[in-house]
Symmetry: C2
């Protein structure tokens, strides 16, 4: 690694002016990605570090190295591109999150997630915007009112990519589903707010505008979700009907990947919330499509999507780290370094306050609706949720670039200050908050660790420990289910049919969330699964050894290849 | 699909001037890729069609559609970019080819492959270059001498991507390894010729220049191969030493993918033959690295690499098809349409003659060195090899663009004629030759079909039917071996150890190619495998159920997830 990197850097110095630049940049990035993976692996046992911080630090170090080698000129190859981020890096991450999310956990907390994601983000937006107007205007920074509001919209959104890095779905499933779910839902809120800031006159807020905003949010949320669900169902239907597995498992994987990406891009095209779309597409694909494909495709999709997401995450942090050192914007700011630091501090404080302003009241509200004490979010959990969602990462940075740079340059003083402050906030929050979150979770929620020892799939809520007795609980997490069908093959498929049939259970009826789930299950079994496939509803598993042998000779060949 | 496409096209018309263009282009491409996969699947049973022709035709139709919608203005989003092709689309295809190639078949024919790839391409180059000088100069086309030679270099190279589409490794392994191997090796030849055309005075060829060319070729071939081998061994060593599988199979897949790509980019950076590098990297990875990873990673890498390659292939043909309709270059040519057609015809004829000029003599030479009649390339096979390598595809097109367009535009008449002629040759050869190859192979080599019925892994050479008796033959094809270790898990790994030890066999000693293979096997077992892993030399398979249970609790959790 060291060797590759060294020679690449040498070459870069020589070639940076030729059209080889893109080759050099890609080579450097790929070499750094390899280094991040290896170092991240070596630091795996560490209590504090995580992959994102490693990548960020390596990125910053490389940035320093490039600065030194290029003699302070800073190379163009490191300019942050929102397109690269939103079009190529974000989709695999969010899709994979939807694909691997524990669905039951997610939908059980759906009302709380919506509360945090929609109302919470709005509260945070208001606090940050008006805080910024109040505090920054005193510091000789003249932004338009719309820019202050944009600042609010940028910093109100939790970075779902950071959350994924810090929280572990298996260790803290409730926290994960709440904070990550909020991150997904508030993307829709952010889009609405961004549009509102640009199109509506927000200086005179009245009931009509509030209703309009609410209507916009509902419209966006629903259309984005439907688009994702339709794409997911389409993939399930196509794969079930056309039976790709007959001669090619690669086609199945390709069509899943492409349809998911298509849903993201269509959503982007129609100015919907692409994150929401691809997230729900992932959920639907894991519920239906994944069960319609061959066993090899199942293993492949599970790991290939996770790998793509993993690489994209590291790439983002590396990229943010390297871009942070772009000398041009710091030069503009250098004359007013003190202001820039103060602005960063103020923004950081506003983020802290803005998040606190909705987590605690809304958790209280959410607790009111829950009867069982096990379902309630206690104070320790509230603090963890507040803290774990504080990080601001690449999403904030991309939005800041979108707002404050018109042509990729940052010559206006105010804009340069805003960009550098955003970078400071991103670096600080990712590194410092990121480092502290892991130990904090262990300190505040020690129970999770004990529960993990019991190898419960839902270790935090004691509620869930009693529930497996009700049966059918193991259907919850896709992850449990993956391995099952891989190891047992046909057998587990068959036994899955039995599990799908809801067992009459008076205790389940009593819980209202259970009832919704019950009717959904009924509808799913009666209509959705026969049409779109899914566990236990695919006539036979193509590619399974028992099924294959009855086919004629091209399949024989394929069998030879695969077994 | 139809719906998505329709709305996208509509949108495009409206949005084509905004910065949404890239989003529109990507959405359109992804939708078309999905359509290609579905249609390709439906046409699978067809005797004539293959995926590349489907994609090409869909691409051309879409191009026509865009032309009609945009009112003949032709949209910029379809301009062919060599960077996109060489940096993103080609690496996964060639890497996957190396990863899945039947190694023993490939190395058994290595001398013939080198003969075809190096000497053959040179002969073809000379024939096409001088033919073009002789014929085109009579047609009022004034190109510099260097441009004629470049034309020779462009059209001398077989398109390995096209070959992959038309020939099937399992049906016709000898043909596949010869024609595809030639395609890989002649990339090095092409690079040498291209550099020679630009740097050397080729009008006065003497022994010194010939030796220099030969030296260049050797240097390039050896350094490129070494770079690929080193990258492959590095991945094997890192994964074996650091034992990624302990907590993450995704890291293994990521590091394999990234190191392979890194080798390609480094090779590109140092102006080596990147295709050769990544091909050998794939071979080494399938021989060592692939055996060091967890079972899930094996399934994932096999199918994920194949999927990426599959999507990239379709993308290329779609892209070529859509680009063919770019109105700008046709407008320049339209005044001299007759000339353009004649030039295309002449080039096509020269390609046919140039290929015939080396296949038949070199096959004769190759046959002289082989004692066993089974190893010889008979006349029918020679014709098939000649025909199957006639296609010129995206590689030729990318090289033509590199040579004949300086700024992406084609205003000079000669350049425009050359580009449009290249497109015509590419479309014609891919569609017509592609359509005919499948039936031709079945007509000329009917034996292959019968042998497939016997489910032999090497159906054409009767030689190989007797060989399995020698034992150890099943180690040949990676594909056979995949399923084995997947279905039998630990068991087949254990039995694999036994197979690795070369059995003393007097018959094997008698065959000289066997002897080389024997010493290689000895060296491999004594030195390479203990260091770099490989089948039977990994202490235990991480991720296998028997191994996992002795670990402590984080692995327990992962086990839960994966099983």
């Amino acid at each position: 690694m060291g060797f590759d990197l060294g020679t690449t850097l040498q070459k870069m110095n020589i070639l940076s002016d030729t059209d080889n630049t893109s080759v050099v940049a890609i080579t450097l990035f790929v070499a750094l990605l390899c280094a991040c993976i290896v170092i991240g692996h070596l630091l795996e046992e560490s209590r504090w570090m995580n992959e994102s911080i490693t990548a960020l630090i390596i990125g910053v170090c490389t940035g320093v190295g490039i600065l030194l080698i290029s003699g302070g000129k800073s190379s163009r190859l490191l300019i942050f591109s929102e397109d690269l981020f939103f079009i190529y890096l974000l989709p695999p991450i969010i899709f994979n999150a939807g694909f691997q999310v524990k669905k039951k956990q997610f939908f059980r907390n759906f009302s709380t997630i919506m509360l945090f994601g929609a109302i919470g983000t709005l509260i945070s937006f208001v606090v940050i915007s008006f805080g910024a107007i109040g505090l920054l205007q005193q510091m000789d920074i003249n932004l338009a009112i719309g820019e202050y509001l944009a600042l609010g919209a940028i910093f109100a959104a939790t970075d779902s990519v950071c959350t994924l890095q810090v929280l572990n779905q298996d260790e803290t499933p409730l926290l994960y589903s709440l904070v990550f779910g909020e991150g997904v839902v508030n993307d829709a809120t952010s889009v609405v707010l961004f549009n509102a800031v640009q199109n509506l006159d927000l200086t005179h807020i009245n009931t009509t505008i509030a209703l309009e905003l609410f209507g916009n949010f509902l419209y966006l949320f629903i259309t984005s979700t439907i688009l994702g669900v339709v794409a997911g169902l389409l993939s399930a239907y196509v794969i079930k009907k056309l039976y790709f597995g007959r001669h090619s498992t690669d086609r199945e994987v390709a069509i899943m990947m492409l349809l998911a990406y298509l849903s993201y891009m269509l959503s982007e095209l129609f100015n919907l919330s692409a994150i929401l779309t691809v997230f729900f597409c992932g959920i639907v694909m894991s519920h239906y499509t994944w069960h319609n494909v061959t066993e090899n495709s199942r293993v492949t999709t599970k790991h290939a999507f996770a790998t793509l997401s993993f690489v994209a995450e590291i790439f983002i942090f590396l990229y943010v780290g390297m871009d942070a050192l772009d000398i041009e914007k710091w030069r503009v700011v250098s004359s007013s370094l003190k202001t820039s630091i103060s602005v960063s501090g103020i923004l950081m404080g506003l983020v802290l306050v803005g998040r606190a302003a909705f987590i605690f009241p809304l958790s209280f509200l959410s607790n009111l609706t829950k009867k069982s004490p096990y379902n309630k979010i206690d104070f320790k959990k509230q603090i963890t949720i507040w803290w774990a969602g504080l990080m601001r990462g690449a999403v904030s940075m991309a939005l800041a670039y979108k707002q404050f740079t018109s042509s990729g340059h940052t010559n206006v003083r105010e804009n340069a200050i805003m960009i550098t402050s955003t970078i400071t906030v991103v670096l600080f929050s990712t590194v410092v908050f990121g480092l502290i979150t892991k130990p904090l979770v262990r300190f505040l929620l020690p129970s999770s660790k004990q529960l993990i020892r019991m190898i419960s799939s839902e270790p935090i809520t004691p509620h869930s420990i009693t529930l497996p007795l009700l049966g059918g609980e193991q259907e919850d997490s896709l992850t449990d289910l993956y391995g099952q069908s891989i190891t047992h093959g046909q057998t587990s498929e068959a036994s899955g049919v039995g599990q799908n049939i809801p067992r009459p259970n008076s205790l389940r009826m009593l819980l209202s969330s259970r009832t919704v789930h019950y009717y959904w299950r009924k509808f799913d079994n009666a209509f959705m699964r026969p049409v779109f496939g899914g566990r236990g509803f695919v006539p036979f598993v193509p590619g399974s050894p028992t099924e294959r042998s009855v086919h004629r000779f091209p399949e024989e060949l394929e069998k030879l290849q695969e077994h």
